[in-house]
Each structure stands twice: as structure tokens, then as C-alpha cells.
């Protein structure tokens, strides 16, 4: 934990209220996000029990699997869930547009926590290879749902993406609580700290939220006491009614199971929308729109891929595909880190603490300074006085968030002891290059003026050429040689546990 993060948590613990650690919202929020809360059967790798989903906070759809161990019912449930998710996707698809331009919006999926992302990934994996004809045929929507869930889960690995957002991660990113990171993974407790009910302190609200009767867990794993005392008897009653062939009893058992599961999911449903409101209350950061554009583009490509008959995502990445994906994930993550720091002074503060940035006031400026060579070039100098600790050395290349097109090279650093007049600030002389047009006099505003507050950082998002990888057919011997061509088959649908 960094010093600032530790300080924020200590302050939150002292005041009994979560502390905002960001000035802006770094995650995109759709106007009509699709919220999904799930429950799964304990002890099975991916046996859905129930889902509460929809984009209307007043009218969630409840889907229940009455016999979660029955595969036929499981796929019938998948078909029902496909109805909700695929229709949300269809609403965003515009077929008359230019195929090169991304759709105006994409369906955003919000879930309570990280285990939900795993749940959707596993559900996607167990459905996307299903056959729609022959033995064990499933409705065509099932494999399609599987492909989309897999798409969402893979998109969630890309850190700047907001297609699938686990709510606890988004909240914990924007607020610091006085509890541990593990406790922050509990949506109800986290919201208790951020927005406690009137007259209650954060810790008291968090403690109340840990009572599984008042606040059932956000899932997908259910409360074990609920499993034993409520779910087991209901399932038993259902089985007996089915064996006896008593339709009335069966209907009653189903109604009570609906009731039981709704009671488990409903409070999390309400918390999800409260979290949406809280996050929505923060203004969006400057780069959020641009990152969402990348999501829209990715969504548009995925629609086109499926429409044009592309194969479902392979079960495993080949050596080349894995290396390519890792390179992309690393680049995107680095870019996100830079954008967040540029957008938010509280994020930049972390870098100021470690000497990777400094903020201060321009005390001298030579905006029209020319460097004489074969032909003169514009190289203004400015002097910045800062109280931050400066760990840069001469020659370091820096950037300022407000002038991203301009490079600043450290020419000189004068420590506080060396300046007369008792100023306790370090003075850094910077040479500026670029972002000032082509003429030899810089347009107004392109060079920081005396008195301006500026921030400079070594954190840069420079263009990097995409790394080259061999073709998949040229996979070298060190990595097992070229893999056989991938053809989806029945074996793909088989899981270790099936």
C-alpha cells in the first residue's frame, strides 16, 4: 500500500466515513446499464441457481433453475438469460450504418463483484460450444449467449474497458474505507462505509451489512445457512412433488423457491443501483469518453465477427495468440495508468510522492528563446519552483498533463540550499519542445507563463510500435512448434467436471 493510500484509509477509519480518493470518475457509466446479480449452487463449478437481471431498476427479471443439477433445465435457463442479454445487445446494433464506424453505444454489463466475472466466464465457456441439432441439442440462442458472455469476460481482462464492470472494484477505486481490501470485496459493507444510512457510522453500517440475514451475500455464492435451512427443504419439496406427479404441489414449491431466491438477490439488486447513482454523481474523467469509444469499436467488431460467421473463441490461446494478447494487455494497462494520472490530481499525487512528478509555480519564462544551429529552432526555457521532492536528473524528458504534445527536458535543478532569499523550494529549469506551431514565436498559451501552476511528470504515453510476433504457422520449436489448426468440435464442450 502506498503512503497516500494508507493515509486515506487511516483517515477513513478515524472519521468513520469512506474518503473519496479520486476527483473524477475514471470508469464509463452507461445511461441504461444492464445489471446482473446471480446465485449459483454451492459445490458445483458452474450451476446457476437464479439470476436477477435487467436495465430497469424497478422491473428486474428473475430467472430460476428449479433443479440446478439438471442439465436440460440449466440450458433452458441459459436460453432465458439469452433473451435478456441478446435483446440488450440487439438494441445497440444499427445495421444501416457504415461498417467502419462504431455503433453509437454499446451495452454495458454491471455485476456486483469479481466472482461474478468468473461466473459469467464459466457460464460462457460451458455454453458457447453447444450443438443446436442432433443429440442434446440446445436452442440457438444458447451458444450465442456463450459467445457473448465469453466476449464480456475477455473484455474484462482489458483494464481500460468498461464493458463488464465489477461494482466493488469500481467503488473501491474511487473511495478508501477504514476496512481491509478483503472486506471491501463485500458490496454491502463497502457501500456502508461510503454512504451509511442516516445516523449510522461507516463501521456500524459495514458491521450490519455482514449479517447474512439482513444483507444476503452479493453472490454468486449463497449463504450456507440459507442453503441448509431454506434452499435444501424447498428443493426437497420440489423433488417429492415431481415424483408424486402433483402439479399443484409442484407449483407451490416453485413459487416458494422463486420467493426464497428473490429475497436473496433483491437487496444486492438495490445496492447495485445505489452504487450506480453514487458513481454517477462524480463527473467523468477526460479520457473516459475515449476509452468507451474503444469499447464501442470492440463491440462493433464482435457483432460483425458473429454476423459474418466467425468461429467461437477457442478454449485455449496458442503460444502466439497468448503472447500477442499479453502484449496488448500490457500496453493498454500502461496507457490507462498515464491517462488516469493526467486526468486526476489525486492520482498524480501518488507519482509526486515517489518523485515521478512534481507540481509548482512558473517563476521565470523565456518563451521566445531560440536555439541557434544551421537554422534557429524555438526552444523556450521555463523555471518551475516546487516544494515537492525532485528525484529527476538532468536530461530527463517530462510532460505536462495540460500540454501533452509538448516535451520538457530538464536542463538544471537548483536545490533549495543554493538559492538566496531563503526560498525552501527546488527550482527546475525546463527546455520545451513541440506543441507550439511552426513559427519562431510561440502562440499565446503554448508556453506556461510566469505565475502559472504546472505539473510535470516522467509518466508518458509515447507511441510504441506494435511488437512483432511470428505467424502461428511459424511457432518455433522452443514453444512446441506450430499447433494443429483449430476446429471447434464436440470435445470443446466437454469440461473436466462434466
Amino acid at each position: 500500500m502506498t503512503v497516500l493510500a494508507a493515509l486515506a484509509r487511516a483517515a477513513a477509519a478515524a472519521t468513520g466515513r469512506a474518503l473519496p480518493t479520486k476527483t473524477v470518475r475514471h470508469v464509463h457509466l452507461s445511461r441504461r446499464p444492464l445489471v446482473l446479480v446471480a446465485a449459483q449452487l454451492a459445490g458445483e463449478a458452474c450451476a446457476p441457481l437464479a439470476v436477477l437481471a435487467g436495465d430497469d431498476r424497478e422491473k428486474p427479471h428473475l430467472l430460476v433453475v428449479y433443479e440446478p443439477r439438471d442439465r436440460t433445465q440449466r440450458f433452458a435457463f441459459a436460453a432465458d438469460l439469452a433473451g435478456i442479454i441478446l435483446s440488450a445487445i440487439d438494441r445497440h446494433v444499427e445495421d444501416d450504418g457504415d461498417p467502419e464506424t462504431p455503433y453509437p453505444d454499446a451495452p454495458q454489463l454491471l455485476v456486483p463483484n469479481l466472482p461474478h466475472v468468473t461466473f459469467l466466464r464459466l457460464l460462457g465457456r460451458s455454453t458457447r460450444f453447444r450443438k443446436t441439432e442432433g443429440q442434446h441439442a440446445v436452442p440457438p440462442a444458447v451458444p450465442l449467449l456463450g459467445r457473448w458472455l465469453t466476449y464480456y469476460a475477455e473484455r474484462a481482462e482489458v483494464t481500460p474497458s468498461a464493458m463488464l464492470v465489477p461494482m466493488t472494484a469500481a467503488l473501491a477505486d474511487h473511495w478508501a474505507t477504514g476496512q481491509s481490501a478483503t472486506e471491501d470485496a463485500n458490496l454491502a459493507a463497502l457501500l456502508g462505509w461510503i454512504d451509511p444510512p442516516d445516523g449510522m457510522s461507516g463501521p456500524a453500517a459495514a458491521r450490519a451489512a455482514e449479517d447474512p440475514v439482513r444483507c444476503p451475500p452479493a453472490g454468486p455464492v449463497t449463504d450456507p445457512t440459507f442453503d441448509n435451512e431454506v434452499l435444501a427443504p424447498v428443493l426437497q419439496a420440489m423433488r417429492e412433488a415431481a415424483l408424486a406427479g402433483d402439479d399443484a404441489r409442484l407449483a407451490r414449491a416453485r413459487a416458494s423457491m422463486d420467493q426464497a431466491l428473490r429475497s436473496q438477490l433483491e437487496s444486492t439488486w438495490a445496492l447495485m443501483w445505489r452504487a450506480v447513482d453514487l458513481l454517477g454523481g462524480l463527473p467523468a474523467a477526460a479520457h473516459v469518453e475515449q476509452r468507451w469509444l474503444a469499447d464501442r469499436r470492440s463491440f462493433t467488431n464482435q457483432v460483425a465477427w458473429i454476423r459474418d460467421g466467425g468461429a467461437p473463441q477457442a478454449r485455449r490461446d496458442s503460444a502466439v495468440a497468448a503472447a500477442r494478447r499479453l502484449a496488448r494487455l500490457e500496453r493498454e494497462q500502461q496507457r490507462l495508468a498515464v491517462e488516469r494520472a493526467y486526468d486526476d490530481p489525486l492520482v498524480m499525487a501518488e507519482y509526486r510522492m515517489t518523485g515521478e512528478a512534481f507540481a509548482g509555480e512558473v517563476t521565470e519564462a523565456e518563451p521566445a528563446r531560440l536555439e541557434q544551429g544551421r537554422r534557429p529552432v524555438l526552444r523556450p526555457w521555463i523555471t518551475v519552483a516546487t516544494a515537492d521532492e525532485v528525484l529527476f536528473t538532468r536530461g530527463a524528458v517530462l510532460k505536462s498533463p495540460v500540454r501533452p504534445a509538448q516535451q520538457a527536458t530538464v536542463v538544471d535543478i537548483v536545490s533549495p540550499g543554493a538559492t538566496a532569499g531563503g526560498d525552501a523550494r527546488t527550482r527546475i529549469v525546463l527546455e520545451l519542445k513541440g506543441g507550439m506551431g511552426r513559427s519562431l514565436t510561440p502562440p499565446p498559451g503554448t508556453v506556461p507563463a510566469v505565475g502559472e501552476q504546472v505539473t510535470y511528470t516522467s509518466l508518458r504515453d509515447d507511441f510504441q510500435p506494435a511488437p512483432k510476433f511470428p505467424d502461428i504457422d511459424d511457432t518455433p520449436w522452443t514453444h512446441g512448434g506450430p499447433p494443429p489448426e483449430y476446429v471447434p468440435d464436440d470435445e470443446d464442450a466437454r469440461e473436466d467436471w462434466s
Binding site: 497468448a322 503472447a323 494478447r325 499479453l326 521532492e389 511470428p470 512446441g480
Partner: protein
């Protein structure tokens, strides 16, 4: 083992490796413990291949490492023409520019006729032309192969037919800033080391191990070997009497710092133990203790006596190793404060700001006379996988030729007992030995005998 016996035993292994190179079908892997003569082996292997008329490409991980290797090769083999493939903004370091037989170029076409071409893995990966069209070498020598990620090997493997991989399996594994379990258990996990992927896909590749450490003193080799190389033990090339640390001055009184340095000089190790406390990562007292110990070594005028002769321990021969970058920055600030406080600490050899303060990742492969280590678990409430990693502790504990002082808050053994490693085991992923928790326990058990209470 006497130095002579050590030389004989190391020679025998090197000969076996070179003989193996001649008949290997695909490649050879050489595990090298800290300071076991890895560069010597790389130079010998490159020369031996070049003598047979084979063109050799050598792959390093950083520009610094590449330049070190070139310097060694050019000095040992003055007639061999060596090509240095580099990026646009590379300026040959003085130690490279002084060799007439080294040519530095940015385009491979200018170097293609050189028997030996050296570059970083990143530079090699930028070569155009794949598999059938581009240049190709019969042999590659990959240095620090355990620190190379397998995706980086994937990008250069089409350039060579056979390869010699040399590296230290006990040091830090390569890492990625991306956290994902997506590829765990795959034979080609891009996040695992180049050697791990190579051996999984080619189980018949021979693995050799170098038997003696020339760097580590007799006081350290058994400790490091037992804690971090449980199945591939090694010994020190020198005996206890061969190395010593002396002082040019007597201390005024005996502060806890002097006591710690004396303990380290006598026994090779000291544990400077501060009172138990939970602290921030940049624990001010611990950071100050590290800087003070380094300053004290310079102030007292330490002299290192070894089989290489007598020499003063200058600032550049002292390292302070930490786990995090912000800790390194804090140590550097503390060192600068000492330079300002004691004018005597700013002479050319005593310039305390020239003491190398860095993270374990960046100290890998480097050697010093005295090291001071801020223990990764010092002042922590929990023991995470990062802080328990055996490789991190191994790097910090195996950089020194004479003495290592560990600075830590009391209570690390108790912290370890309270946090047994709980990392999940994944299908298809070989269990890693040594386990970090076990390595930490073994190391702390040894240090218990050299405890000096600090902060008094």
C-alpha cells in the same frame, strides 16, 4: 574447498558443457548459482563455437548486461570480431569504444559477416523477416535466460537453430504488470520464464549446473545454497580464511551500528534488528538505519581482503537492496542527507550518494563487497506472495563478496508463522521450489545467531 580444487571442478563442468554443445540437437541449459562464473562460461562458449566456424548470436536482457559481456569477450579474445547491434540512440560506453574489434551498428546487414553479434532480446525481436526470409544463425547464446519472459523468446526463436541458455534459477522470475490466470498451466504461458517454457516443450534438452560460487564467501555460500538451491547445491570457491574485512579506524565507543558492522565483518552476516512495529513501506527508522550503516562503512574506512588482494571498500562497492521503488527513493534521500551532514562523506571514494540503492529486480546480476538489505517483510502486518518470493530474498542475500547486513523489524519469524503460504495450486503448473515461506524461515533461522539489537 580450496580455490585450486574449485577451479578444477568448475573446469570439468565447463568442459562437459562445451562437449555437450558439440553434440546437442536442440540446445543446452546451464543453471548458474550467484557468482558461479556465468559470464566466463558465456564467453568461453561463444569463443569455442566461433572457433568451430559457427556464427553466433548472443542475447542479453539489458544494454548494461550486453555491454558487460562485450567488454569481457573483447578483452579475453582480442582477435574475434564482435558486432554490437543497437538502437538508434545508443552511444557506445567507454568500456566498449576502447575495443578495436567491436563494431556497433543499428542495422544487422552491416554486421552479418561478424562471427559474433550481440544485442538485447528487445533489439533482436525487432529484426525484420521471419522464418524463411530473414537472417538466421546456427547458434544463439541466451544470457540471464531465467529472467527472460517466454513471449520474448517467442519473438526471437526463429533467428536460430540451436541455443545455449544460461541463467540463475534462484533469482526473481520475470513478471508482468498484468494480473491474469488465463494462461496458467499452458505449456507456453507467456508470463513464465523462457527456460521453463523451453524445458516443458523440449524435455530432452540437457540441464547442467555450475558447482562453485566465486563471489559468495564461505560464510554465505552454504546459507544461500541451503535456503534457495535445495536440490542444486553449490559451494564457495574460497575458504573461510581467504576473505576478511578490516577497518582503517576504531569507532568512538561502540554504537549498535558499529556492533552490527563488526559482527558482519567477523561472520559475514548481521541482523540489525529494530524494535517490533507495524510501519509504512518507507519505514523512516529502517531506511535511516540502512543509510547510516552504509555511511559508517565509508567513515570507518573498510578494507576488503580477498584472493584478489586488498582494496578499499569505496561507495560504489556498497549496495542497499530493497523490495519497492519508493523504498529505494527514500534510501537515496537518506543518503543525500548524510552527504550534506558529514562533509567528509563527499570525497571521490567516500561519496555516500554513490552507494547503490535499488530494488532487488535492478540489483540482479550485480556484485558488491558489502550489501545492506532492508528485509522485504520488515514492519509488515502480512506476508504476501510478493514479499515472500524466494527469488527476491535470494537476490538481496547473494550480491556480496564479504558481508551482508540485514535491517529488519523484530518479529519476522512470528509473521511467517502467522502467514503460511496459501497460494492456490494450479493444474499443470509445476510446484516451485524452494517455497518462499520455507526459504525465508531457513534464512531467518541462520540470521538469529548474528542478531544485533538496533535503535538503542
Amino acid at each position: 574447498m580450496s580455490t585450486k580444487d574449485a577451479a578444477v571442478s568448475a573446469r570439468a563442468v565447463t568442459d562437459a558443457i562445451l562437449a555437450d554443445l558439440a553434440k546437442a540437437e536442440r540446445g543446452v541449459v546451464v543453471d548458474s548459482p550467484p557468482g558461479a562464473g556465468k559470464s566466463t562460461l558465456v564467453v568461453a562458449a561463444a569463443a569455442s563455437l566461433a572457433e568451430r566456424g559457427e556464427r553466433v548470436m548472443v542475447v542479453g536482457q539489458t544494454n548494461e548486461q550486453v555491454d558487460d559481456l562485450i567488454d569481457r569477450m573483447a578483452s579475453d579474445h582480442g582477435v574475434l570480431r564482435i558486432g554490437r547491434l543497437s538502437g538508434q540512440d545508443y552511444i557506445p560506453a567507454p568500456r566498449i569504444a576502447r575495443h578495436a574489434n567491436v563494431t556497433a551498428r543499428t542495422a544487422i546487414a552491416d554486421l552479418i559477416d561478424h562471427p559474433l553479434v550481440i544485442a538485447t532480446a528487445a533489439k533482436w525481436a525487432m529484426l525484420n523477416g521471419l522464418a524463411d526470409s530473414g537472417p538466421r544463425w546456427p547458434w544463439a547464446i541466451v544470457d540471464e535466460a531465467y529472467q527472460m519472459r517466454s513471449d520474448s523468446l517467442l519473438r526471437i526463436a526463429h533467428l536460430f537453430d540451436k541455443a545455449l541458455f544460461v541463467g540463475d534459477p534462484g533469482q526473481l522470475d520475470p513478471f508482468s504488470t498484468v494480473e491474469t490466470e488465463r494462461w496458467l498451466g499452458l505449456n507456453w504461458d507467456p508470463m513464465s520464464s523462457a527456460v521453463a517454457v523451453l524445458l516443458t516443450n523440449n524435455p530432452d534438452v540437457q540441464v547442467h549446473a555450475l558447482p562453485v560460487s566465486w563471489r559468495l564467501p564461505a560464510t554465505a555460500a552454504p546459507v544461500v545454497s541451503a535456503a534457495f538451491y535445495p536440490f542444486n547445491g553449490f559451494t564457495a570457491a574460497t575458504e573461510r580464511g581467504d576473505r576478511a574485512m578490516r577497518w582503517n579506524t576504531q569507532p568512538f565507543g561502540m554504537t549498535s551500528f558499529d556492533l552490527a558492522l563488526q559482527t558482519a565483518a567477523d561472520s559475514g552476516w548481521a541482523l540489525y534488528e529494530l524494535p517490533h512495529r507495524h510501519t509504512l513501506r518507507t519505514d523512516v527508522e529502517a531506511v535511516d538505519a540502512c543509510a547510516e550503516l552504509a555511511a559508517r562503512v565509508l567513515l570507518r574506512g573498510a578494507v576488503a581482503v580477498s584472493e584478489q588482494g586488498r582494496r578499499d571498500v569505496t561507495a560504489g562497492r556498497i549496495a542497499i537492496g530493497v523490495a519497492h521503488r519508493d523504498q529505494a527513493a527514500a534510501v537515496r534521500r537518506a543518503l543525500a542527507a548524510r552527504a550534506a551532514a558529514y562533509p567528509v562523506l563527499s570525497g571521490p571514494d567516500r561519496d555516500v550518494t554513490k552507494v547503490v540503492a535499488d530494488t532487488a529486480n535492478r540489483l540482479q546480476g550485480r556484485e558488491f563487497d558489502v550489501t545492506i538489505m532492508l528485509h522485504p517483510l520488515s514492519g509488515r502486518r502480512d506476508a504476501t506472495a510478493f514479499h515472500l518470493e524466494a527469488g527476491r530474498l535470494c537476490v538481496l542475500a547473494s550480491r556480496h563478496r564479504h558481508a551482508c547486513v540485514v535491517v529488519a523489524r523484530a518479529g519476522i519469524p512470528e509473521l511467517l508463522d502467522a502467514h503460511p503460504s496459501a497460494e492456490p495450486v494450479h493444474l499443470g503448473v509445476p510446484v516451485k521450489f524452494p517455497d518462499g515461506w520455507e526459504a525465508h524461515q531457513s534464512f531467518m533461522a541462520h540470521l538469529a545467531d548474528f542478531r544485533v539489537p538496533g535503535g538503542v
